[in-house]
């Protein structure tokens, strides 16, 4: 118990003193996971909506693949992103392995199926006749899709939370493709793993507490937005 209290105390001290290294790690974590979530939103909402609103041969297989993708293990993603970005890999020429960009790519791959799956379910839950109603109101196809997305906004906000929550907390892919390089690719999760392996439990706990506070703060903001969009 003493270790835990010491860790919490250390965390508060690091936060209050605005420790430059910790602030740097926190900022990078936010930047990387935020960008990855943003990318996953564009791809996930786009494809999720398209699959929900269209019918085509093999649709059920596509839906099953999306749902499977929601449980994609980060280490598997890390492994394949590493292979693809490896010096001799298909995208080796880009030379982005062990860079924040590599972590963003890996995290975007992890978050996209989550956002896609939730979007798909959210759009399918809307009444089928709502599409016809929107078209009958004189909407173009683009206006129709936009209005449907707005109708599913509460569920889509949940997709943002789930996507961000999934990537800010993952460690496997970040450590594999980022390499946990100090001051460059070290994020909160990889730093926590490293400090734990070194036996620095107080620092590891401090980083975990910061991670939890961060995740809570982001979700609090998103929840407030989600609850505010519904009129009284």
């Amino acid at each position: 118990m003493e270790i835990i209290f010491a860790g919490i105390k250390q965390a508060l001290s690091l936060l209050v003193s605005l420790d430059p290294e910790v602030m740097g790690i926190t900022w990078l974590s936010l930047k990387v996971s935020g960008t990855a979530t943003l990318i996953s939103l564009f791809i996930g909402i786009g494809i999720g909506t398209a699959v929900a609103l269209t019918s085509f041969p093999g649709r059920q297989i596509v839906v099953s693949l999306i749902n499977t993708g929601m449980a994609l293990p980060p280490v598997v993603v890390g492994l394949f992103v590493t292979i693809f970005l490896w010096r001799n890999g298909p995208f080796g020429a880009l030379e982005i392995l062990y860079s924040p960009m590599a972590i963003i790519i890996a995290q975007a791959i992890i978050a996209t199926p989550i956002v896609m799956g939730i979007t798909l379910a959210a759009m399918q839950q809307l009444p089928r006749k709502l599409r016809l109603q929107i078209l009958a109101l004189g909407a173009t196809r683009f206006q129709m899709v936009w209005l449907l997305i707005k109708e599913a906004k509460l569920s889509l906000m949940a997709a943002v939370m789930a996507g961000f929550g999934g990537v800010i907390s993952e460690v496997g892919a970040s450590i594999m493709v980022g390499g946990n390089i100090k001051g460059y690719t070290r994020v909160l999760t990889t730093a926590t793993v490293m400090e734990t392996s070194k036996g620095n439990f107080d620092v590891a706990i401090a980083l975990s507490v910061i991670l939890l506070i961060l995740a809570f703060a982001i979700n609090l903001v998103l929840t407030r937005i989600q609850q505010r969009v519904r009129p009284r």
């Binding site: 016809l132 206006q143 109708e151």
Partner: protein, 398 residues
């Protein structure tokens, strides 16, 4: 326009066909909607009413056929989007957006890019017309079913459609709510002179609102015409049955003189609705016809109107045209046809009671609660059922 000039239809559908799962679910050879009229499309579930509305409004793709709006072929001379922006649709479910009542009513106008100042005025007018101005800032999710449907109607009228499609808009409501909505819709339709097509399975709704009624069956329009014509002169057995011709039987013409046709009807010797008759009456023979039986014991029915001898015809009588009197009467009243009949079953039918009888052929009559008591009507009792020759509508068997 000269008075004798034919009115140009606002909407014309030609050879409209829709297939689903390899099956033809809609097949309408021609349908014209005239400016300012209200056309009701009635028919049983699965008759194709909704598919017809969605096809005419171009919300679903046609397998075949053309739709012309104000003389322009949609898809060729007029873009589908431009066409859709001339119409509005109200569904059975209100299908409101998750926002305020005001924003919902304004949504069609916003989609069209109408200026805010104009939107305010148009929306306020419709909110007032449908009595929902006090709900303008309420969330659509908190509305009752009736309020939500009023909002949906206000949204449809806010865009001042040239053509309004109503797909069973009141089917989900209790009678008082339906009555109130119907009254308001009728008022706004007549005030604005909006052309409307309404799908419904409620004939009362159709009669209240419509200038014409179309009866649909298995994807086809079985009959279209003014309400009185469709209700009283159905073209076939299906329409007759659907519009409430309670009594339908077949007969053979034996004579036709001075516009009065006499037919014979083969006496049905099977007990009607035996399960509902008391045991004592099911085995008993039917009462003898009151002086109307032929030598072969067939029944004789007189009908106003001409027919060819030996022709087989279907006779249809509305329940309200059949009158009942107690016991077996042999005297002839103004009704040309009087038959002793056994009451098989009495069931409530709104403000009336529906009496199912067997007078040698099945008969249905409407009576009031007072009549049930006064005439002591009950299952198994024998009464005299009578109807005028003019009450019988003939359908030729072809």
């Amino acid at each position: 326009m000269r008075a004798d000039e034919p009115i140009t239809p606002i909407l014309r559908g030609e050879n409209i066909q829709v297939r689903r799962g390899g099956k033809r679910i809609l097949d309408v050879s021609s349908l014209k909607i005239f400016p300012g009229e209200v056309l009701s499309v009635i028919g049983p579930n699965g008759a194709g009413k909704t598919t017809l509305l969605q096809s005419l409004s171009q919300l679903i793709r046609l397998g075949k056929g053309d739709i012309c709006f104000q003389g322009k072929k949609v898809g060729a001379e007029m873009a589908p989007l431009d066409y859709r922006r001339c119409l509005a649709m109200v569904f059975q479910e209100a299908l409101l957006f998750d926002t305020t009542v005001y924003a919902n009513v304004a949504s069609g106008l916003k989609i069209r890019g109408v200026k805010s100042a104009e939107i305010v005025s148009l929306v306020n007018t419709r909110l007032e017309q449908f009595g929902i101005e006090h709900l303008r800032d309420r969330s659509a999710r908190t509305l009752s079913g009736g309020e939500a449907q009023r909002t949906s109607l206000a949204r449809a009228f806010a865009i001042e459609p040239q053509l309004l499609f109503l797909d069973e808009p009141f089917a989900a409501f209790d009678p008082p709510t339906r009555e109130a909505l119907l009254e308001d819709l009728n008022g706004v339709l007549r005030t604005t002179g909006t052309t409307a097509i309404m799908a419904t399975h409620d004939q009362v709704e159709a009669l209240r609102l419509s200038d014409r009624i179309a009866v649909m069956n298995e994807g086809r329009i079985a009959q279209i015409g003014p309400p009185a014509e469709v209700m009283n002169h159905p073209v076939d057995e299906f329409v007759a049955s659907f519009v409430g011709m309670g009594t339908i039987f077949e007969g053979k013409v034996i004579n036709c003189e001075r516009d009065t046709t006499t037919i014979t009807v083969t006496r049905d010797t099977r007990p009607a609705a035996a399960d509902t008759l008391p045991t004592s009456t099911t085995s008993a023979p039917f009462p003898p016809a009151a002086g109307t039986a032929s030598e072969r014991n067939d029944l004789i029915v007189e009908i106003a109107g001409p027919a060819r001898r030996e022709e087989r015809i279907l006779c249809c009588i509305r329940p309200e045209h059949v009158t009942l009197s107690p016991g077996v009467r042999t005297d002839r009243s103004s009704a040309r046809n009087a038959f002793p009949a056994v009451i098989a079953r009495i069931s409530p039918a709104g403000a009336f009671y529906k009496v199912h009888l067997n007078g040698g052929f099945p008969l249905v009559a409407y009576v009031t609660v007072q009549s049930i008591e006064d005439l002591n009507l009950r299952a198994g009792a024998t009464v005299t059922a009578s109807f005028k020759a003019t009450a019988v509508h003939m359908i030729r068997r072809g």
